[in-house]
């Protein structure tokens, strides 16, 4: 059987694997086993999706129970600097249960409102678990406790990088996309340049922004005052912005290009000006395609923003790369886990938005 937890004498050394039954007192282990078995068994009921969903919750509750009780019990007998973290057995069980949850949820086909409620509920439960302090004995949380302030600064920076660069790309990309849709010449000039930008590996893109921006910071008066410099936030922001531009522009063009000609003729026939037609007919109809692109860019940006940690741009990448340098697994987790969570939440939220816009025109149509 795969180890469920790992105990280490301090944060750097190799740990000792702990099996599930050695992790916690027998009653807790039996409750966990019962919960996991019951949860997975409920997951096998193919016809009742809510039962499968409930099963995944029961299972997750079970493994978290042993983890929290076990961590406290193991630490009680160990030295001051000892640390306990979940091991491969825990992660695999968690992954299987979360897959079950995702599968049950997708089969239930909840509407956008229900999905939002479930997301908020799950995040709330997770937040309450973190807030209750039950997980404080785990090594990742000890790592967090040591740098809580810088963690939240990094989180803010990460969001600012990922969403800010996307907002900037949208501000530039929409008008550019509309222009490309109307003028074939502009399309021929803009799209190849943007595709070429996309072939630059992300790592190099971040690297190339450094000399460009340090030159700008040094030679344009006032640029330094607003924070434009070779390292830090500005180059990371610019790199993400350039990466986001192609999907936004090309999907705006694609979204506008697939509209039924009859609708456009009807709009013109009703006496709409070009501007009215764009704002009231074309953009609303193209919105689902455009939002789908924004979803991809947002998830991708949250992931790429990690690289900012390599050029001093802040964000969760700072922890990841510090952790890799010190071979401190807990620190790596402290950077990587929130990134994954953020990417998944962003993906779900954007899917809800796409669904909402898809539904609206259908309801309005006769």
């Amino acid at each position: 059987m795969l180890p469920f937890g790992v105990i280490r004498e301090n944060r750097i050394v190799l740990g000792e694997d702990v099996a599930l039954w050695a992790m916690a007192p027998p009653w807790a282990v039996s409750v966990t086993l019962a919960a996991v078995v019951a949860g997975l068994a409920m997951g096998l009921v193919r016809s009742r999706q809510w039962l499968r969903f409930a099963g995944s919750l029961v299972g997750v509750g079970g493994i978290v129970l042993t983890l929290t009780i076990g961590a406290r019990a193991l630490l009680a007998d160990a030295g001051e600097l000892a640390r306990v973290s979940p091991a491969i057995g825990f992660w695999l069980l968690l992954l299987a249960l979360l897959l079950l949850m995702a599968d049950a949820l997708s089969a239930m086909r909840p509407g956008p409102g229900a999905r939002f409620a479930i997301l908020v509920g799950l995040l709330g439960a997770f937040g309450a678990l973190l807030g209750s302090g039950a997980l404080m004995d785990l090594s990742v949380m000890q790592e967090y406790a040591g740098r809580a302030a810088s963690f939240w600064t990094a989180a803010q920076r990460h969001v600012a990088l990922a969403i800010g660069s996307l907002a900037a790309a949208a501000l530039v990309g929409f008008p550019l996309g509309i222009l490309c849709h109307r003028r074939a010449k502009a399309r021929g000039a803009v799209l190849p340049v943007l595709s070429l930008l996309q072939t630059i590996p992300s790592l190099a893109m971040f690297g190339l922004m450094i000399p460009i921006l340090s030159w700008v910071g040094a030679s344009v008066p006032g640029a330094r005052a607003i924070g434009i410099a070779g390292i830090g936030f500005a180059p990371a922001f610019l790199a993400l912005f350039l990466y986001s531009l192609l999907p936004v522009v090309s999907n705006t063009v694609a979204g506008l290009g697939t509209l039924p000609p009859a609708t456009l003729e009807a709009a013109t026939g009703m006496g709409m000006t070009t501007r009215q037609r764009l704002m009231r007919v074309e953009l609303p109809l193209a919105l689902p395609v455009i939002l789908a692109a924004i979803r991809i860019v947002l998830v991708q940006n949250i992931g790429l923003a990690v690289i900012a940690g390599l050029i001093g741009g802040g964000g969760f990448g700072t922890f990841v790369f510090q952790g890799l340098n010190q071979t401190a697994t807990d620190l790596i987790l402290l950077g990587a886990l929130p990134t994954v969570l953020m990417a998944i939440v962003a993906g779900v939220l954007m899917d809800i938005c796409v669904d909402l816009t898809r539904r609206a025109p259908k309801g309005a149509a006769p």
């Binding site: 995702a102 072939t199 590996p201 690297g207 990448g317």
Partner: protein, 249 residues
């Protein structure tokens, strides 16, 4: 057509020169190197880095293709239809997990080196191939399929002789997306000591040497453009052949 051929030839020549004789480009890169610093990366030969970079991408994309196409075949059969939502979920999650996070999370399991990079590229490459394979199998012309059944082909023969060849161009588009993304993403693997061209870029980042960054980025970029182009050509050739097959049927 001729113009395109010349352009491609020039790009290939440029790439070969950049990889095999980088010292020829010293005057070009010199302005970007720090004063008195080295201009051309020499710690490892660019050829061996390029080969292991391409090797990693090939293995990861190959595995992703085999798994994604098999999965798509499985869930488009009547027996496997129940697993369709689950496999969608899995490939979607593979794409949502940021590759850098996958690298970081797999280092404790596989250690430093190329292992984590392979896993990250594999997971990231699954979705485009899977989605395209699903489209490919889902949009087969019903009349051709009926004809195949009518000819008395077994299920297995239908799959190998009719469905796969017809879906191949669409699947190949997915593979192309996956390969091009992997080429760029593989550079990140060098943050956990995988031997890729990212090593050159990271060396440049660490020593403030833009010449290195340009050199690494340029080579990866040209590889990406050429591979993209080559795969488009293969796709077109395949689609043309499939067109003929369809006409004959």
């Amino acid at each position: 057509m001729r113009k395109g051929l010349i352009l491609r030839g020039l790009l290939v020549a440029l790439l070969v020169a950049l990889v095999l004789r980088p010292e020829l480009f010293t005057p070009l890169f010199a302005p970007f190197a720090p004063n008195g610093g080295p201009v051309i990366y020499q710690r490892t030969s660019l050829l061996s880095l390029s080969l292991s970079h391409l090797g990693l991408v090939a293995v990861a994309s190959g595995l992703a293709t085999v798994v994604a196409v098999s999965l798509a075949i499985l869930v488009t059969r009547p027996a496997g239809a129940a697993f369709r939502p689950l496999s969608r979920t899995i490939t979607n999650i593979g794409q949502t997990f940021p590759p850098v996070a996958v690298l970081a999370l797999t280092v404790p399991v596989f250690g430093f080196g190329s292992g984590p990079t392979l896993v990250a590229l594999f997971l990231y490459g699954l979705l485009p191939v899977f989605e395209n394979a699903m489209t490919g199998f889902g949009t087969l012309p019903p009349r051709t399929m009926e004809a195949a059944r009518g000819m008395g082909l077994t299920r297995w023969q239908q799959l190998w002789q009719v469905e796969l060849p017809l879906a191949a161009p669409v699947i190949l588009t997915g593979i192309r997306l996956s390969v091009v993304i992997s080429l760029g993403t593989a550079t990140i693997g060098s943050t956990v000591a995988a031997a890729t061209l990212g090593e050159v870029i990271i060396a440049g980042l660490l020593t403030d040497n833009t010449a290195y960054v340009l050199q690494g980025g340029l080579i990866v970029g040209i590889f990406a453009v050429l591979l993209y182009d080559a795969l488009v050509l293969v796709e077109r050739a395949l689609a043309r052949r499939m067109g003929r097959v369809q006409q004959a049927a």
